[in-house]
Every structure is written in structure tokens, then in C-alpha cells.
Symmetry: C2
């Protein structure tokens, strides 16, 4: 029999009405607003006393084309915890539509470890990203209109830092000249569209603690400089209220379910390479109120997603993880160790041994925060017992438990061992230890990340970045947390440098202040803030029948 | 006591749960999907036998800055029909967010004749417009990506007719050069963003009869010409399935309520000056299945909205109106007759008499279709009995009943007279008579519209339009219905020519073929397909409190 596609497995599953899932999560009827039959939004704040759950963070080695299945493990772990009798609630990021139409496929897990309804979650979901796109572009139009209508704030059209955005992979919009066509159609200027998940508003939505904080953060956003090179904020433009209003529904976390009926809260989704890569603080707090265990993931590898989770999100969240699950696959480790992509089904202990250095570096990094670590080896049929044993023996030297996870084929039943290991780890007493102090300056913070998390030598500021820092220091922006924009494929800023490289420098070519989000983005390497579509976009294979049956999302 | 704002009246009203409204409309629980507590989508097709309702079309004189309140009368008429014991269902267009943030304010009626929840309907509603924006811009990205990846179809980058869109008033995007930044970021070319409501996909969504027809129409869309000047369609690009998939929820009509609990279906919203101006065929059909009376409106004045409703929508819908309600105000008629805007509260029978010519022309036009007409005079406190009598006497010469409507102050209780008049008119036997034959060519069709509906002399094709028609004839596109893009303020193509001008020509400067929608857009005058924001955008006055209380929408 042909192997079922993810969407086919999802379509054959019988979903429970969202009201039942809400009840499972301990939500009352007036705390949820249904969006169709299988999705809802959660009305915050929740009433009454709730659980003080433990936070479990799932992260991974540096991603490879071999696939690690971090989301799949995360979903499976939620189901596995339920199977061993723990009230687990998943809390995940929303997928970006651009990559779904491009090459990434959906971001809702796979096999028998999926959140559902996968087609809706992967397409428009409950409209949060569209609200962000609209809010961002309304703000952009209001800025250009301010200039058009007399420019009272003296905004310099050459120094508008707020880019327009779309939730689409559209390389043609990376660099554009807008405002042409004469005096009634604006001022000609350069603009650059980013993908919505790279926008500051997305980061703000994911870090805001309530509607009040959302509006305050929006008002603090610096969107341009005036002709005297002084920052211009949303508050200066007097449109913070309108922009917050456009996000009044988007700020509410979304509730769905896994194929096994585990409650899953999915909310917000900044990319982890160009943004901070975590679901919203409000969603995570809600999951912690509802579950004994709130199982969440951070984007890409531990160097990007987990570092930002721990250094940017945790201080706002006010709670650190009780345990961190590091996901690896034998295949991906062999690729890190030099085996060719086409050869990965062939056993190769030498390549595996070399590649384990990548896993080891991430274990060390996570242990640096004083959080217990569990390694999850996501099972593939090509794995051999010798390969698994090598991974286990390797990890034992870090005093870390290594557990196979087979959620793809078996759902929660395939992750009960992992669930038990996570429960054990989360019971270990630990004291979360931040990587840097809030009072450290930006270079000190970036250096801590580069040396401790990446294993690199030093941070090199290119001249433009140096000049920016001098200017930012005068404005008091020199103590912000750093959000590194770096390739996800390597610990370094060179995508092809796999394994655990050393003796490399990280080159910061520019900074982007995000006063509303409350961090400073440091751009390294050639990170694109607007992806392109591949030669054969996924969209070409998508279809919907006259009866509404969908195909091609996977 | 200060007069309440529309949003304050709405916020003081107690809405009924959407499940109750669905039951009032005769919908079963499995035919509706709730979107929050007060909105839903209707799952089509409806099961079982339903009412064969009568269609009531509300239109108006040419709009003026004095305000006519056509939507308010439409909503009030629905409530009024309910008050006299008729099962009425409203079926309206969705507001465009761009004008809401600009100067138009909401499009959900006013006073005690509103559809609710007005803030949600005016903002993101159930996401239909965002899905259209995304589908359109995904298609645009796929076209540019096709060129980038080898351009197998030989698309001429200078001749891409599909514009990107946003549901935002953003004049800076009217004219742009995109694709700059070197070979990895696309091919430099000119693009022009339109507002989403001007897109062909919006027209398609509003004319599609089911999912099958939607996909077929999308596949027929001509998006570019190749280097041999042959048309390139969505079918050629093989992405019709993906684009239809992105609209799978947007195609479902939305259910809300009036402040009096009358069911209101709100779905689709092409502008009437630059597009065809009607809500969706599916929504109207649904309303006809659910109500004894389906009360709908067309955009702007009868010359634009009603003409397109009757000549473009009715042939697809397969049902013509049983009666047409023509909305006028004494104030607006006086403005058409030459009184100054600031003077409109002063009685002026001379100006009123002169301005009535505009109303008379529209009565004649609508009677041309052999549909019974009722004139609704939307009441203002400044109206005098003499002025009302003058309107009534004037309309009597056309054998048309004239009824005052006071829905703004009294809701349905203020429109029971109008409701009775509409019921009487709808009982009058009539035979709908189209303006032109489907087999007529485009110039013949346009001439019929200009001479019969506008009262003009002839159609003048500018050289570019002439050349286009010659090319289109060779492609067999010369018999499409014509969708005139004309100013809404005048029967002519000169916005300042009020009243009922004669002896004017209509100049068509260009055509835009819309093979998917199935009509040919004829551009006259200087119609903008992307509006701008005013000096003081409405957004500046909008706000949301920490507790979620909204202000400034109206």
C-alpha cells in the first residue's frame, strides 16, 4: 500500500468539535469564540485560578535538508504526555503562508503527529497574519500620506525604516521604487517589502502581555528618521490606537487539536532566522494556565530559536523551561558529519560520530542556562541499532538521557518513553541562569551569544554597524537584547559550515532597532527578509475539487 | 443630550447569538459555521427545498457629499419588512477597509438601521478580502517567479496585466518599479497596486455560482501577454487550483444581523465605479432561498451600481428584481440643483426642483428595464413639508410612489410605509427587459448604457481603446458585457456635472478585459483604481481601550 500523505492521514481522522477540545483544556464556553467547527479563539484574560504548569521547550540541532521533524516531535510529545496521564497542552507557532505556497510545505507536524485542521492552519487560519499584514501596510500608507499632506514631522523619505510586508514569497518586491506618477501619487522613494513574519508588528504581537502593552509597544515603534536624523515613532504619527485596533482579534490565541485530541494553542509566528522565532507570550501563558505541561517549540536550531526563546522571550514571559528537548535524527547528524544527502540511508558510523559534534554543542549551550536537557532521536526506518547506540553513548557523557521518538508512525504511543523522560527531567531541581545581564551593552550581549552559543571567536562589526551603534548609544538604545539574524543551517554565519565549527567570527553588517519589540536585530551574512519561490512552487500541485477536497498542501 | 454616534448606538444594542439569527433565517445548525459569537459563514449548497423569494434592489441618485444613506435605507427596509410581518433577509456588500481607515467611515448603515457587529464588519470581518488580497498577490508572485525561473511561457514583463492589490488606500503604490536589486531579485518592471475591491478576483468571487465555476473563472483569467502578444491565462500557469484553494472559505457567504435581529448576509464587495459593485451571486441566491424578500443594494448611483446589477449580475443570477427602490434625500437633490453644501439646511424649492432632474433620469432608466420603482426619501430633520410634497408631485408624473423613510432615527418602525409600498410594487406584474442583447458588440453595449442610462450623446473611443478593440475582436472578446468605470458623482464622466446633464459624450480611454469575471472594463475619465488617504485620515481618531472598547470607526 502506498504510504499516506500527511493531508490524507489528517483527512481520515475524525476531529472532535472545538467545544469538546476547549472543555478538555479546562476552558469554559464563554472563554472561547468558535471560528468554524474546529478552530476557536481564546478570550483573555482567563477567569479564576488556574494551573501553574511546567514549560517544556523543544528545539533541535541545526536544520538540514534531511529533515529533523521538530514540530512532529513536539506534537507527538504533547500526545505522549496525555497518553501517560499528564494534562499536556501544546503551544506552537502559526505557519507562514509564503513558504507553504513555496517549498516548505505545511508546518503542522506530520504522519500521526499533526495538529488539525491542517489545511486551514496552513492557509489563512484565523486571520492573524492577514491582520498583521494589514496593520503594517496601513501604517506604511499613513507614513507616506503624512509626507504627502505636508510632512509636519519632517520625515526624511530616504530614511523610512518601516517596510511594507506580504505573507508571500515574492522576491520581486525586495527592492522597489514607489510613489511615482507625479505629485498626486506620492513621493518617489525606495521601499523593500519583507515577509510578514519578519515584521516588527509580528514580534510585538508575540511579546505583548495584554492589549495595553500591545498599544504601548506599537506607539514606541521607530518607523523613520526626520530630516534632523531624529527618530519618528508611531506615537508621533498619532495612529497607535488605529494600529492596535486592527490587531484586536489577532492578539487572542487560537485553539485547535492534535489528531489525538490534545489541545493545541497556536499563535504568532516570527521566523527564527530573521526574527525572534517564538509563539506569543500570551499563548504560552495561557498554555501554562491550562496544562500541567505546556509543550512549546522554538524555530530552527537551538542556536537561533532556543537562544532567542531563553534570552528574549523568557524575561517577558517570567517563566523559564523546566526541561529542554533537543531533537536530532541519525540522518541529519550524518549529514553534519560529511555523508552525502543521497547516501543517508546507508549506515555510516564515522560520519555519525563526526556529526554528533553539532548535537554536543547544542547540549552544552542549553546546559549553560542550567535547564535539564533530554535528547529525542526522531526515528527513521533507515536508523540502525548501532547508530542509535552511538548517539546514546555520546550523549551520556553530558549526563543527558537519549530517547527514540516514533510519533510519525505511531502518534502519542510512539513518544511515551520520551514523555516519561521529559517528566523526569522536569522534576530535576534547576535554577535558570540567563546568558547575559540586561545592563550589558549590545556588543557584550552579541559576544556572549557568539562565543557561548555558537562556539565562535568574536563579533566583528562592519563600519556601517559601528556607526549605527554610536548613534544608538546617544539615543539610549545600547542596552537592548540582541536578536541575531543568522543562517539557520550553521552555527556560524556561513550556511555550508556544518557540524560544530570553531575559529570563526560573526560579522554584523547592520543593526535594525525594534523599539516596540524591545530588541536590536543584528544582521549577519546574507539573510533575506523576503524569500523567493522555487523553480517548482508547491502551489503548482495544489488543488481543490468541486466538492472541496484539498490536495497538494503536502 | 449629545446625539449618539453610530458605534455608540451599536455598542448599546444587545446582539442575539448568531445561532438564533441562523434559526430566524431558517438555517439548520449544520449549515452555519460560527465565526466568533455574532458572525457565521453559511455552508453551501443549502439542503432541501427553500423559499423562492422576491428580489428587492435598492439604488440611489448620484451620490453627493450631502449623503444619501442608501445602505441605511436598505437596512431599515429589511427591518421594516420584518415589522410588517414579512420574512425579509438582507444581502449586502462587505466594506473595504481602505476607505474605512480613510474618510468614508463604515459601510454598515447608521443610526438605528445598522448591521452588527459593525466594528468587525468594517475591519477584517471573516477574512474574505484578506483571502482575495493573498490569492491575487500569490498569483502575481507566481507570474514573476515563472519569469525568473526560465519563462517557459515567454511572458512579456512589460505586458503583465495582473496588478498586485492591497485593501488599503495607498497612493504611493499606484506606480512602482519592482524586481530591482540584481538577478536574484527578479526582473525590473513597472507594476501598479490596485485596491483589492478593484481586482478581477473580487469580481470573480462575486459572480461565481459554485466552487467549480470559481475555479473555471480563475483559470480563464488573462494575466499577461507573451512576447508574441498572445494572452497568457492562469490555466497556462497551472495555478488555478492553488488560487481557488486560497478562496475556499471566502466563497462562503457571511451571516450577521441588524440591530433589530433581521438576518443579514454580507458577502463580496467590488467598488461600483471601477468594478461591478454588487454583492455575490451566491449570497443573493442564498437570501432568495431563505427570505420571502431578499433586500439588496448596488453600489453608488443607479447609473453605475444598478446598471451593472441588471446587465452583469442578473444574467448570472437568473433572477431579476421584483421592485427597485430609488433612494434620494432632499438635501442631495438640492445640491444637484445648485444649492451650496453649506446652505442645504435652508429650504430652497427652486434648487430642489432643478435637482429633481437627476432623480427623474434614474427613474426613467430603471423603468426602462420594466421593473416597478419606488422612491424612498431618506428623512433629514431639515426637510420641510413643502419640499417633500414637491418630490412626491414630481415622481407622480412617472407613476411612481414616493415614501419617506426615517430608519436612521427609528429603525424598522421608520420604514413600515416604505415596506408596504415595496410589497405593493413587487406584486405588480412586470417582465424584465435587458438593456442590450448578449450578442451585441462592445460599442453597441456601451452606447446603450451611455444613451439610455446616462442620457449622453455617444461613446468616443480614444485611439488606444480603438486599437485594443481591434485586437480583442480577433480573440473573440468583442461580445462581453461592458463594465463602465466612471465617476459616481455625475451621470457623465465629469464629476462636477451634477443634475441631469445632456449633450455630453463619454470618452473611453482604455479597456481592461476580465475574462474570468466575464466582462470588459471600459475606463472613462480619471478613475483611480487605488484611492489615497485624506489630510486627516479616519485612522487618526480610532482607538481601542485596554478593555477593548472601540472608538472612532464612526
Amino acid at each position: 500500500m502506498a504510504q499516506l500523505k500527511d493531508i490524507e492521514i489528517a483527512q481520515r481522522s475524525k476531529l472532535r468539535p472545538i467545544s469538546e477540545i476547549a472543555a478538555t483544556a479546562g476552558l469554559t464556553a464563554d472563554e472561547v469564540e468558535p471560528y468554524g467547527r474546529y478552530k476557536a479563539k481564546i478570550d483573555l484574560p482567563l477567569s479564576g485560578k488556574r494551573t501553574a504548569g511546567k514549560l517544556i521547550l523543544v528545539t533541535s540541532i541545526n536544520p538540514t535538508p534531511a529533515g529533523e521533524g521538530k514540530t512532529t516531535v513536539t506534537v507527538g510529545l504533547g500526545d505522549g504526555l496525555r497518553q501517560i496521564g499528564k494534562r499536556a497542552v501544546l503551544v506552537l507557532r502559526e505557519p507562514s503562508l509564503g513558504p507553504v505556497m513555496g517549498m516548505k510545505g505545511g508546518a503542522t507536524g506530520g504522519g500521526y503527529a499533526q495538529v488539525a485542521p491542517m489545511e486551514d492552519i496552513n492557509l489563512h487560519f484565523n486571520g492573524d497574519f492577514h491582520a498583521l499584514t494589514t496593520a503594517n501596510n496601513t501604517l506604511a500608507a499613513l507614513i507616506d500620506n503624512h509626507i504627502q499632506q505636508g510632512n509636519e514631522l519632517n520625515i526624511d523619505p530616504r530614511r523610512i525604516s518601516l517596510h511594507r510586508v506580504l505573507d508571500i514569497n515574492d522576491r520581486s518586491l525586495r527592492n522597489a521604487v514607489i510613489g511615482m506618477g507625479g505629485p498626486t501619487s506620492g513621493t518617489p522613494r525606495e521601499d523593500h517589502f519583507d515577509i510578514t513574519v519578519a515584521s516588527e508588528l509580528m514580534a510585538i504581537l508575540c511579546l505583548a502581555t495584554d492589549l495595553h502593552d500591545l498599544k504601548a509597544r506599537i506607539n514606541r515603534m521607530v518607523v523613520a528618521e526626520n530630516v534632523d536624523r531624529q527618530p519618528v515613532t508611531v506615537a508621533d504619527l498619532k495612529v497607535g490606537g488605529a494600529i492596535a485596533l486592527l490587531l484586536k482579534e489577532a492578539i487572542k490565541p487560537n485553539l485547535v487539536q492534535t489528531l489525538e485530541g490534545t489541545p493545541a494553542i497556536i499563535h504568532g509566528g516570527p521566523f527564527a532566522n530573521i526574527a525572534h522565532g517564538c509563539n506569543s507570550v500570551l499563548a504560552t501563558r495561557t498554555a501554562l494556565q491550562l496544562g500541567e505541561y505546556a509543550v512549546t517549540e522554538a524555530g530552527f536550531g537551538a542556536d537561533l530559536g532556543a537562544e532567542k526563546f531563553l534570552d528574549i522571550k523568557v524575561p517577558v514571559l517570567g517563566q523559564s523551561p523546566a526541561a529542554i528537548v533537543l531533537v536530532a535524527t541519525v540522518r541529519a547528524l550524518k549529514l553534519h558529519g560529511g555523508q552525502a544527502l543521497a547516501e543517508l540511508t546507508t549506515p555510516d558510523l564515522t560520519a555519525l560520530k563526526a556529526g554528533l559534534a553539532n548535537l554536543g554543542k547544542h547540549i552544552e549551550s542549553m546546559q549553560r542556562y542550567q535547564v535539564p536537557v533530554v535528547v529525542a532521536v526522531n526515528a527513521f526506518s533507515s536508523d540502525t541499532p548501532e547508530e542509535i547506540k552511538l548517539v546514546q553513548d555520546y550523549c551520556a557523557q553530558y549526563d543527558v538521557e537519549t530517547v527514540e521518538a516514533d510519533e510519525w508512525a505511531h502518534g502519542g504511543a510512539g513518544t511515551t518513553d520520551l514523555a516519561h523522560a521529559v517528566v523526569r527531567a522536569a522534576q530535576t531541581p534547576s535554577t535558570f541562569t540567563p546568558l547575559y545581564e540586561p545592563t550589558d551593552d549590545i556588543v557584550t550581549k552579541a559576544t556572549a551569544i557568539v562565543q557561548t552559543i555558537y562556539g565562535g571567536r568574536r563579533v566583528v562589526l562592519e563600519p556601517h554597524a559601528k556607526a549605527q551603534l554610536r548613534r544608538f548609544a546617544k539615543r539610549g538604545w545600547d542596552k537592548l537584547p540582541v536578536c541575531m539574524a543568522k543562517t539557520q543551517y550553521s552555527l556560524s554565519d556561513q550556511p555550508k559550515l556544518l557540524g560544530a565549527p570553531t575559529d570563526f567570527d560573526i560579522h554584523i553588517r547592520a543593526f535594525e532597532p525594534r523599539l516596540g519589540a524591545g530588541f536590536m536585530v543584528a544582521l549577519t551574512g546574507s539573510i533575506l527578509t523576503m524569500p523567493g519561490l522555487p523553480k517548482h512552487p508547491a502551489a503548482l500541485d495544489m488543488d481543490i475539487t468541486d466538492d472541496g477536497v484539498i490536495s497538494g498542501i503536502f
